[in-house]
Symmetry: C2
Subunit: 395 residues, 2 copies
């Protein structure tokens, strides 16, 4: 696998001097000295990764935490998102004095390869063409995302990450890190995730993709030239996905059959119910911040994810001789990545002789629980990090 | 509520002489002497109902069973469907010598109001216009469907139905029959259903509707004039719904991550996985047999369904003084209409002092289990019908 770039160009404000506060508001590194050989066989170059850091790297560069984001996430887990002005997606967990304490740890988060938050993806300029890649962008995998992150960690001069963590597709990346680059991963926290995308999950992704492909504004993926965006199709995809992120109980509690600003049903197809209004809003706001082709590519990467398959169907073999400490978490009401998936993973880790703890957290919030205020998750994560920090000599 | 028609016109071959075999291959009755006052306030006329019968009505007209179909079902539960040439949708249960034995019972099934199997719906001619209703068709409810069926039962000269049964939306109609016309319902078998459509179920329906509305071939509901059909949107709607009809376990067992006619993934957006190919096929075949506007209207009727709401939120009150015998069934892996919904219903029936039995059937087949080979469902239904027939003096 290629390593880094000779002629790397760093944006202003990124200087990985140990002991120096290195918060940035989002930077992009051009990994232009190297091509990345992707799982599909294509050599991709150039590669840019948009990333953000929080806190300061300590003297022996042993306090770095890599956070991996989920399907529609970005490189802004903490602080404000400079694009939206809204708080990052994991401020419950990450920040000064937080569970992932940016006064103590050096936190890194990068937009995934294939994403639309500044990293190279289908909307990037195709060096072999006149405009964006569109569907000429190669299909990437979670392993490819992690390969790109691995280059970024090289670039930052960090030998070993104290912890790699994330939920959902972020958890897939965590597992891929541990399986493919375990020597660089002191501890790993895969949350609400699985070692392989299930048939049901592929099914829901396929529904979303077909909704996008059905939209005439998709233009075969070349909507950039047409100055169009398959807004309706992408909104439907988001709506379908969003339902899967919530539990039936949470939907009932939050919305039930409550009507939206009306006393009675209207006998029509307006959003009579709050849940309809909520979903439409989710769809409409999503298309403002996400690229339809990125949605196609990232969902495909998740579908292809199956760590065991790369080891002849033996999941334990993927983690053979691992020295990484694992903390696996699942949520009782998460039906998209149910606890059974985590148990399957934990069994394999045990079979591989790994140091692994597992907590199933009681929650009615469904898959999205990992993004929400879940005290038991926070307590578990906090305890795990404290113990791992002691083992790493960080205290 | 209006009763029947003076000038009713019966199709050939329908003659409800007691004791005579009255199998038909699908007939349509024009209920043109009466207008139906719908829940939305509109008086709908004319009303045609397409229906099919099996077996013979006995001398005292006490052996009639009404089967109510689900969202995308039709009036052909048994025998062959004359349109497709394929077996009806419930041949596992209904037929000569079957669990619902058409040698013993007179079985009736009608296409719901709003449907596209021959009953009046959005694709019917609008008497106030030049062409089909389209979106000028009034929004109907499950109660309206049952009102129309009630007229059909009048028309057939049947005072009291021995049994009304059905699954999913069919089960909603069963409950509506028992609540609104209980005096005509000796026994009732609601299967895999609920007394109200849940927030999650409304959410999935809304996703499907938005997929249809997003399709430019929908033409604001007036695609009939444009000689178009929102095929892509309707296919996406069907795909999304279809995933909800199956359990995660069934999907894993049937498809898992198996590839479709290939040795390895293609790193593209073709249907690499069997589940993708299967879903696309489900979508494509569905649009051949179903009208997109009917899909909008019938899903809306289900969303509006909430028997308790009509009784001040008191579900038991809806069944006050009922003399109907109930057999409620649910399936362990049905996450669309989970057992909790049936338990809620059973509690209310118990509170109303009803004669009710309840069986939760162990199955990994999800919501669709009621349509499939489920021996425990068949045994339960058979036993219930036998006991009810004895109580009715049918043996």
């Amino acid at each position: 696998m290629p390593r880094l770039l000779q002629e790397e160009r760093l944006n202003e404000g990124v200087a990985m001097t140990a002991g120096q506060k290195n918060d940035n508001q989002g930077e992009t590194v051009l990994l232009d000295g190297a091509a990345l050989e992707l799982d599909c066989g294509v050599e991709l170059a150039p590669i840019e990764l948009a990333y953000r850091t929080y806190g300061a790297l300590n003297d022996d560069k042993s306090n770095a935490i890599l956070i991996c984001h989920a399907l529609t996430g970005d490189q802004h887990p903490a602080g404000d998102n400079p694009l939206t002005g809204k708080p990052g997606w994991w401020t419950q967990v990450v920040g000064p004095g937080g569970i992932i304490d940016t006064d103590k740890y050096f936190v890194i988060c990068s937009n995934v390869l294939g994403g639309c938050g500044g990293s190279t993806g289908p909307q990037s300029a195709n060096p072999k063409g006149d405009g964006p890649y569109g569907l000429n962008f190669p299909v990437i995998t979670v392993a490819d995302m992690v390969r790109a992150q691995n280059l970024l960690i090289d670039h930052l001069g960090i030998e070993s990450l104290f912890c790699v963590l994330g939920g959902s597709m972020g958890g897939m990346q965590v597992l891929q890190w541990a399986a493919a680059h375990g020597e660089r991963v002191f501890s790993a926290v895969p949350i609400a995730t699985s070692a392989r995308h299930s048939s049901q999950n592929i099914a829901f992704h396929e529904v979303g993709r077909q909704a996008i492909l059905a939209d005439p504004d998709w233009h075969g993926g070349d909507y950039y030239a047409a100055e169009a965006h398959p807004r309706k199709g992408l909104a439907v995809a988001r709506m379908a996905a969003h339902v899967t992120y919530l539990s039936e109980a949470a939907l009932q509690r939050k919305f039930g059959r409550n009507l939206q600003d009306r006393e009675a049903v209207t006998y029509g197809f307006d959003a009579d119910f709050q849940i309809e209004s909520y979903l439409r809003h989710q769809g409409m706001t999503f298309v403002e911040r996400f690229d339809a082709n990125s949605y196609l590519y990232i969902t495909r990467a998740m579908d292809y994810f199956d760590i065991a398959a790369e080891n002849g169907g033996n999941l334990a073999a993927a983690f053979k001789d691992t020295r990484t400490r694992f903390c696996v978490m699942s949520f009782t009401s998460d039906w998209l990545f149910p606890t059974a998936e985590s148990i399957n993973l934990v069994r394999a880790l045990n079979a591989a002789g790994a140091d692994v703890s597992f907590v199933e957290i009681e929650s009615d919030k469904g898959h999205d629980a990992f993004l929400l205020d879940e005290p038991e998750m926070h307590t578990t994560l906090s305890g795990f990090l404290t113990a791992a920090a002691q083992a790493r000599g960080l205290d």
